[in-house]
Amino acid sequence: MGDREEKEEGRRRVVFVTVGTTRFDALVSAVDSENVRKVLAAKGYTHLLIQLGRGSYLPSKSDGDDGSLAVDYFTFSSSIADYLRSASLVISHAGSGSIFETLRLCKPLVVVVNEDLMDNHQSELAEELAERKHLYCARPQNLYQTLADMDLNTLLPYTPGDATPVAKHINRFLGFPDD
């Protein structure tokens, strides 16, 4: 059996990279770099799928026939939920939507903060969640090191939040009876 058939039949472990609606060429080129591809392949991942968003850097596609990572990309999708669901690892920009959509699906997540953004409040959320061990947080330049050193077994599942406390406060404030 060729490597390709083995990958398709056997364990297909996809790394899904998403930048949401933004452009984040630094992340895409970091993921496209040889040592990141190597470390992902070494960790048992078979496919790398990159959602480019508005970025202009195009990674090099690969069939992965020679035992290396199979690489593919696309720009946008109306819903990345399916891609997240079928991923074994997600590498995402620091947008809160991407982060929580991934955490809700209980997928291992590495968040990469875009340092080119002005007023980078996004990093606050990523760093806080990393401190609480719900994900790993990196910058494009240390993505390789983070991936090499990470131990996904130490990640803690994220308990989904609840909007009812806010609703309670609002109702009480307005004088509506408690349910």
Partner: protein, 233 residues
């Protein structure tokens, strides 16, 4: 003597004008302080009927969080519902419309009664220079005034986008002038862990929001009048 009488007459008039102006300004100040004081306390009467509600939507994550909140609010209490989104934001109104239509379908009410949707000009686009923002904010204020005169909501829900500032400012003025008392609820975004957003900061410092909710404990330590409610998502 004529000159003397002329001088004393204009002196009296200008004193009268100055006194009146000071008097009016003092009245307004007292009224503003009174409004701020009342806004910070829960409504004294029990609510007996539904409250008209304006929901201000922002792009992306903001809309997702607002929809999370709307999901747990009793729809028969917050009615009728008006949605405003920035003119350049197409997705948010669509999502809200989907929510309202599915609610209408559940209850069997006609879809035309499900929520009302409006667009408003943005005060400022992301990355726009602060100088041109002054003009666009003025345009946004006029447009907001027009919309607020039409809607005059009793409750305003917002969670971050700059679109909420002109509307909340006008709601505050309406409160002071006695045109409409709106209770303004602001939920700071889940992405704000250590610092409030500009909108949140303005509404907090100027005491325009009746209640300001934060999702991370550090913010409540920094801003004691904020209410910590944990994560919504």
């Amino acid at each position: 003597m004529d000159k003397g009488n002329g001088c004393s007459f204009s002196a009296v008039t200008s004193t009268a004008i100055i006194s009146s102006v000071i008097f009016v300004i003092t009245l307004i100040l007292v009224r503003v302080l009174f409004v701020i004081y009342c806004s910070s306390r829960p409504m004294s009467r029990r609510a007996k009927k539904p409250v008209s509600t304006l929901i201000i939507l922002g792009s992306g994550g903001h809309t997702a969080e607002m929809l999370d909140l709307l999901a747990v609010l009793q729809k028969d209490r917050f009615y009728p519902r008006f949605y405003i989104a920035a003119a350049t934001d197409n997705m948010s109104l669509q999502k809200a419309e989907l929510l309202e239509n599915s609610l209408a379908a559940e209850n069997g009410t006609p879809i035309t009664n499900a929520g009302k949707f409006m667009k408003i000009y943005r005060s400022r686009e992301v990355g726009q220079s602060y100088i041109t923002s002054i003009w666009t904010t003025l345009v946004a204020m006029v447009h907001a005034l027009w919309l607020m005169i039409k809607i005059r909501p009793e409750v305003i829900l917002c969670n971050g986008p700059g679109t909420c500032i002109p509307i909340c400012a006008i709601a505050f003025v309406f409160k002071v002038l006695g045109i409409r008392w709106s209770s303004i609820f602001y939920v700071e975004s889940i992405a704000r862990v250590r610092r409030l957003s500009l909108s949140g900061l303005l509404l907090y410092k100027l005491r325009i929001a009746d209640q300001l909710f934060v999702q991370w404990p550090r913010l409540q330590q920094q801003y004691p009048r904020a209410i910590y409610v944990g994560r919504l998502m």
